[in-house]
C-alpha cells in the first residue's frame, strides 16, 4: 500500500475537523500583507513546528512575496521548498522506495542491533513489532528483546506480538535488569545467526536521571557484546507531542546517540511538526512513521508527503 495512502484514507473521515488548508488562507490576486503572514504563522504554529521554524518560513515568504500579488502555487512552492530544506538537512542520504529497510544503517557483517527508546506510551512496543514485520518481509531473521521489565505486563505485550509474527524473543522476569535482557538478546542473535535484534525499553521521561543512566547501561552493554552496536538508536515520538519533543530528542540523544526517529500515531489529527524543529536544531531525521495500531501500519518517512500533510485539512 502506498505510503501515505492509509493516512489519507484515515483522514477522509475527518472532514468535519478542524484545520484549514494553508492554501485557503489566500486568494489568488490579492496583495500579500502582514495580516496574511500572521495567519500563515498561526497555521505553522498549529503543526507544532515551533516558533523558530515558523518564523523562518514566514520570513522567507515576507522576503519573496510580500507586497506582491498572490500566486498561490508560487507561495505554496516557497513554503514547501523551505520546509523540505529544513527536513532534509544537509545529508543527502536517499532512501530506496522499494527497500523498506533502506533508512536503516545495517551492519556490514554480523547482526544489526536496533535499540528503541522514548517517553511513556509513545508507541515503542507497537513500532518494534511493525519494524520486525518489515524486516521479516525483507527476508531477515529477527530476534526481539523484551527490555521493558518495569511496566506491568510489558513483557507479555511484546511476547504476544512475537507470537503473532512468529519471531524469536528473549525475556526475563519483570523487575530484572534490562541491560541483562539486552545482553542475552545479543547472545541469542549471535548464537542463532539471526540478522536483526530489536530491543524494547521501558518508557521513561528524559528528565529521570536514574532511568536515563539505566538506558545508557543498556546502550553500553550492546556495544560491548556486538562491536558497532547498536547500529540504530531509534527514538519513538508521539505525533501529538508538542515542543517537549525537542527536549526528548536532545536528552535521549545525549544518552544513546539517536540515529533516527519513528513518528508514531500520525493517523490522528496531530501533525507532528515538532520533528521539523528537531531536524533543524539537532539533525536527527525521521525514518519511519506509524499510521495505526496494526502491525502493517508503518511507512518509510517521505519529506514531500509529510509537508503536504502538514497543511492538509
Amino acid at each position: 500500500m502506498g505510503l501515505f495512502d492509509k493516512l489519507k484514507k484515515g483522514l477522509q473521515k475527518t472532514k468535519q475537523l478542524l484545520y484549514t488548508d494553508v492554501r485557503d488562507l489566500l486568494k489568488e490576486g490579492e496583495l500579500l500583507d502582514e495580516s496574511h503572514l500572521e495567519r500563515f504563522e498561526a497555521a505553522m504554529i498549529q503543526t507544532d513546528m515551533g516558533v523558530v521554524a515558523s518564523q523562518e518560513i514566514v520570513e522567507e515568504l515576507r522576503e519573496k512575496h510580500k507586497g506582491r500579488t498572490v500566486v498561490i502555487d508560487e507561495i505554496w512552492d516557497t513554503v514547501k521548498t523551505k520546509l523540505k530544506e529544513l527536513l532534509e538537512g544537509d545529508d543527502s542520504s536517499t532512501w530506496d522506495e522499494n527497500d523498506p529497510l533502506s533508512p536503516l544503517n545495517l551492519a556490514e557483517s554480523g547482526p544489526t542491533v536496533i535499540l528503541v527508546a522514548g517517553v511513556n506510551g509513545v508507541g515503542k512496543t507497537t513500532s518494534i513489532s511493525k519494524l520486525a514485520k518489515l524486516a521479516q518481509s525483507c527476508g531477515k531473521k529477527v530476534v526481539l528483546a523484551a527490555g521493558d521489565t518495569f511496566r506491568a505486563a510489558a513483557v507479555a505485550q511484546l511476547t504476544m506480538w512475537s507470537e503473532r509474527l512468529g519471531c524469536a524473543i528473549v525475556t526475563q522476569p519483570s523487575g530484572s535488569d534490562p541491560a541483562s535482557v539486552a545482553h542475552i538478546g545479543c547472545e541469542r542473535v549471535l548464537e542463532t545467526n539471526a540478522d536483526i535484534l530489536i530491543i524494547d525499553t521501558a518508557g521513561r521521561l528524559q528528565t529521570q536521571k536514574n532511568l536515563m543512566d539505566e538506558l545508557h547501561k543498556i546502550y553500553r552493554v550492546i556495544g560491548n557484546k556486538i562491536p558497532g552496536g547498536p547500529h540504530e538508536s531509534l527514538l519513538v515520538m508521539d505525533a501529538t507531542t508538542g515542543q517537549n519533543g525537542i527536549s526528548q530528542a536532545k536528552n535521549f540523544s545525549e544518552i544513546i546517540d539517536c540515529t533516527g526517529i519513528i513518528l508514531a500515531k500520525l493517523d490522528g489529527t496531530a501533525k507532528g511538526g515538532v520533528v521539523v524543529a528537531i531536524r533543524q536544531s539537532m539533525g536527527i531525521p525521521v525514518k519511519y512513521i506509524g499510521v495505526g495500531e496494526q502491525v502493517d501500519d508503518i511507512a518509510m518517512f517521505k519529506p514531500d508527503e509529510f509537508v503536504e500533510r502538514l497543511f492538509e485539512e
Binding site: Q46, N120, G121, A152, T241, Q243, N244, T269, A270
Partner: protein
C-alpha cells in the same frame, strides 16, 4: 514544570522594567509573553485571546500610572492565567454514598489511562471508598494483564473477561453486575481502550458504553506533553461524552504543559487531577491558582503543606524536632526523617513548591537527589544501632565494615559523617531562628556546598531540615493542621452527600 514559561515571562517583564513604561513597550513585552506561551504549547487561539485581554488591561491608565507597573502587569497576567485554567476547580469526583459510582476513563492511545485508573483506585481506597476496576481495553495486547497487575499492587479487585469472547460494552455491563454482587463496592472504574478521536467506529463504541452504563463521571486522560492538537481531541471527546473532568498526566517531566491552559479554555471541562510520576501514589489535585503562582515563580507552599499533612507522621516529627533543638539528633533519627520525606514524592518536585527554592531545584540538573538520598540511606542501613546513636564512635574498623556493607568507599562514609555532624549542629543553631532567618541560612548552606556537601547533598539536607521549628511552634502548627484537616474532612463529606 512550567519553568520555561516563567523564564519567558520574567524576561518579558524585565524588559518592561528597563525603560519607562509606554504603550509600545507594553506591547513588546506582551509579544514576548505570547512567544513563551506558544513555546509552552499553549494553543494558538487561546494564546491570542489571552494576549489581547491582558494587553487591553495593561494599557489602561491605571498601569501606566502605577508605581510598579511591571508588578501590576504580573498581577494581571497571574489573574488571567488562573482564570484561564479554571479559577477555582471542583476536583471532587462526586461519589455517591448510596449505590455504585461509575467512573469512565477515556483518552488517546498511550495517554496513561491504565496507570491513572490504578492511581485513582489507590486514592479512593485510601479514603475508604471501595473501588473495583474493569478491564475494558480488549484492543491492545496485554492491556488486561497490565490492569490486573496494577490492581494486584494496590489490592483492588479487577474484573476481566476473555477478549476473544467478549466486547467492551459487555465487559463493562458484567463488571457492574459483579460489583453489585460483591456487595461492598462503592466505585467502579472503567479502563477503556485508547482511541483516536477521529475513529468513528471506536468513538461509537465509547458512546455505547456511555449510554448503557450511564457513568457518573466521564474523565479524559490527557498527556501533558501534547502540543497544539490537545484541544482538538479534547473537544471531540467532550462532544461525544460530555466530559466531567480531565486528568493531565506526565507532568513530572520538563514539559511546560500548555495543554493545561488550553484544554480548559477551549472545552470548559475542568482539570481535576494531575499525574506526577509512574508510581501509583503520584496523583495530585489540580489547583489553577497554585499553578499560576508556580508559573510566576511564586512557589507552591500550599500543595506542599497539604502533602506533608497527609504523609508525615506528625508525632514522629514533633519528637524529632524536640531532639533537634536539644542537639540529640542521631543518625537513626536522620534515617527515619528521610523515609518520611520520601513519602512526599520527588525531591525536585517538592523543592519547586517552596517559594524561593524553585531555582535551587535547577542548580545541578545532573545530580539526582533521589539517588543521592538512597546512597546515604544505604550507608546508615549498614550501621549497627549503636553506631547510629554514636557516630563519633565510628573508627576505621567500623568504617571499613560499613563501607563493605553498603558497597561504597570508606571515604564516602567519612564524608557523610562529617556532613551529618555539621548539619546536626546547624540544626541546633537554627532551631532558635525565625522562619526567614532559617530560610536564609538554608539557602546559604546550599550555596556554599553546605554541611551536606555541594549540589544534591545540600539540597537533600535542606529537605530534611525543612521542619526544625522549635517545639512550641511545632505544637501550635500541629494543632492548626488538625483543625484544617478536620475542616477539610467535613467539607468533603458535605460534598459527597
Amino acid at each position: 514544570m512550567f519553568d520555561g514559561f516563567s523564564d519567558g515571562l520574567n524576561k518579558a517583564f524585565a524588559f518592561i522594567d528597563r525603560g519607562k513604561l509606554t504603550e509600545s513597550n507594553i506591547r513588546e513585552g506582551m509579544r514576548q509573553v505570547k512567544q513563551s506561551m506558544l513555546e509552552a504549547d499553549v494553543n494558538y487561539d487561546v494564546t491570542q485571546d489571552f494576549i489581547a485581554k491582558v494587553t487591553e488591561k495593561a494599557v489602561g491608565d491605571k498601569v501606566l500610572k502605577s508605581l510598579k507597573p511591571s508588578e501590576h502587569i504580573v498581577g494581571i497576567v497571574y489573574e488571567e492565567l488562573t482564570a484561564l485554567m479554571g479559577g477555582k476547580v471542583d476536583s471532587s469526583l462526586h461519589l455517591k454514598t448510596e449505590g455504585i459510582t461509575i467512573l469512565m476513563m477515556c483518552g488517546l492511545q498511550g495517554s496513561g489511562k491504565t496507570t491513572t485508573c490504578g492511581k485513582l483506585a489507590r486514592m479512593l481506597k485510601e479514603e475508604g471508598w471501595n473501588p473495583m476496576l474493569v478491564a475494558a481495553d480488549l484492543q491492545r495486547p496485554a492491556a488486561i494483564e497490565q490492569l490486573r497487575q496494577v490492581g494486584g499492587q494496590i489490592d483492588v479487585p479487577v474484573y476481566t473477561e476473555d477478549p476473544a469472547k467478549s466486547s467492551p460494552v459487555q465487559v463493562c455491563k458484567n463488571g457492574l453486575k459483579a460489583a453489585k454482587k460483591a456487595g461492598d463496592i462503592k466505585v467502579l472504574i472503567l479502563d477503556t481502550a485508547g482511541r483516536l478521536h477521529i475513529d468513528d467506529e471506536l468513538m461509537g463504541e465509547l458512546e455505547l458504553i456511555d449510554k448503557k452504563l450511564q457513568p457518573d463521571q466521564a474523565l479524559l486522560v490527557c498527556d501533558a506533553m501534547t502540543g497544539q492538537d490537545a484541544v482538538n481531541s479534547a473537544k471531540v471527546f467532550n462532544e461525544a461524552l460530555e466530559l466531567d473532568g480531565v486528568i493531565l498526566t506526565k507532568l513530572d517531566g520538563d514539559t511546560r504543559g500548555g495543554a493545561a491552559l488550553s484544554v480548559k479554555a477551549v472545552t470548559g471541562v475542568p482539570i481535576k487531577y494531575i499525574g506526577v510520576g509512574e508510581k501509583l501514589d503520584a496523583l495530585e489535585e489540580f489547583h489553577p491558582d497554585r499553578m499560576a503562582q508556580r508559573i510566576l515563580g511564586g512557589g507552591d507552599m500550599a500543595t506542599l503543606l497539604e502533602k506533608a499533612q497527609r504523609e508525615f507522621d506528625a508525632d514522629e516529627m514533633l519528637v524529632q524536632q524536640e531532639k533537634m533543638s536539644k542537639g540529640e539528633f542521631t543518625l537513626a533519627d536522620f534515617r527515619s526523617q528521610m523515609s518520611q520525606i520520601k513519602k512526599l514524592g520527588s525531591m525536585r518536585s517538592i523543592m519547586k513548591m517552596i517559594p524561593g527554592m524553585g531555582g535551587m531545584a535547577d542548580l545541578d540538573p545532573d545530580v539526582d537527589p533521589e539517588a543521592e538520598m538512597k546512597r546515604v540511606e544505604g550507608i546508615i542501613d549498614s550501621m549497627t544501632p549503636f553506631e547510629r546513636k554514636h557516630p563519633d564512635k565510628i573508627d576505621r574498623n567500623r568504617r571499613n565494615r560499613i563501607a563493605k556493607g553498603c558497597g561504597q568507599d570508606p571515604s564516602d562514609i567519612n564524608n557523610m559523617l562529617k556532613q551529618f555532624n555539621s548539619m546536626a549542629s546547624m540544626m541546633k543553631n537554627m532551631s532558635g531562628m525565625g522562619v526567614k532567618d532559617r530560610m536564609k541560612a538554608m539557602k546559604e548552606m546550599t550555596q556554599d556546598g553546605g554541611p551536606m556537601g555541594a549540589g544534591s547533598k545540600g539540597r537533600e539536607k535542606q529537605r530534611s531540615k525543612r521542619g526544625p521549628l522549635d517545639s512550641a511552634a511545632a505544637k501550635e502548627k500541629k494543632k492548626k493542621q488538625r483543625k484544617v484537616a478536620s475542616k477539610a474532612r467535613k467539607k468533603n463529606k458535605k460534598k459527597r452527600n
